[in-house]
Symmetry: C2
Subunit: 97 residues, 2 copies
């Protein structure tokens, strides 16, 4: 027995899920930046060092592990995190500006 699928309907269904995932990503990113903004303000106020290489190494290692477990390319997870961190650093610099 074969099942006929309408590829356009199937595509629309996949896209509806992708749109939901994207909305979730945007909202979580918004909260993440709200939090890193608070970190930036705290660091500026108490003159804490802006970068923490030890913490960053741990973060990357942990995210690579999480990526592997959830079948996401760990290389991509690392590139993704580097992309986010670049944006955070840009924000922090503008706070200290």
């Amino acid at each position: 027995m074969t099942t006929d699928i309408d590829p356009k309907e199937e595509l629309a269904r996949y896209r509806a899920s992708i749109d939901n995932f994207d909305a979730a990503l945007i909202h979580i990113l918004a909260e993440r930046f709200r939090k890193t903004r608070q970190v930036g303000e705290l660091k500026a106020k108490y003159d804490l060092p802006p970068a923490d290489p030890e913490r960053e190494k741990e973060q990357i290692a942990r995210l690579r592990r999480l990526a592997e477990k959830s079948d996401l390319d760990p290389e991509f997870a690392e590139t993704f995190m580097a992309f986010i961190v670049r944006e955070v650093i840009r924000h922090h610099k503008s706070i200290r500006g």
Copy 2:
């Protein structure tokens, strides 16, 4: 009355939230790529066009609106999405060989 806060404790609290947000991002990204992989396979199987500029324009406009509402820089949301889409295209190309 002033409240004494321990900046290092406060920082640890913020970081615990950031770690949770990052885990959520990784897991949602893993599901999103699972879905775009299915899209890629569907498109390859039924010979549907790999890119859909109209759909992409709508996606970007919608994500910019969501970003604005949630106090995330819409420019960043757009750059972020471009980053994700580049990775998806890389995957699709590898499916088609």
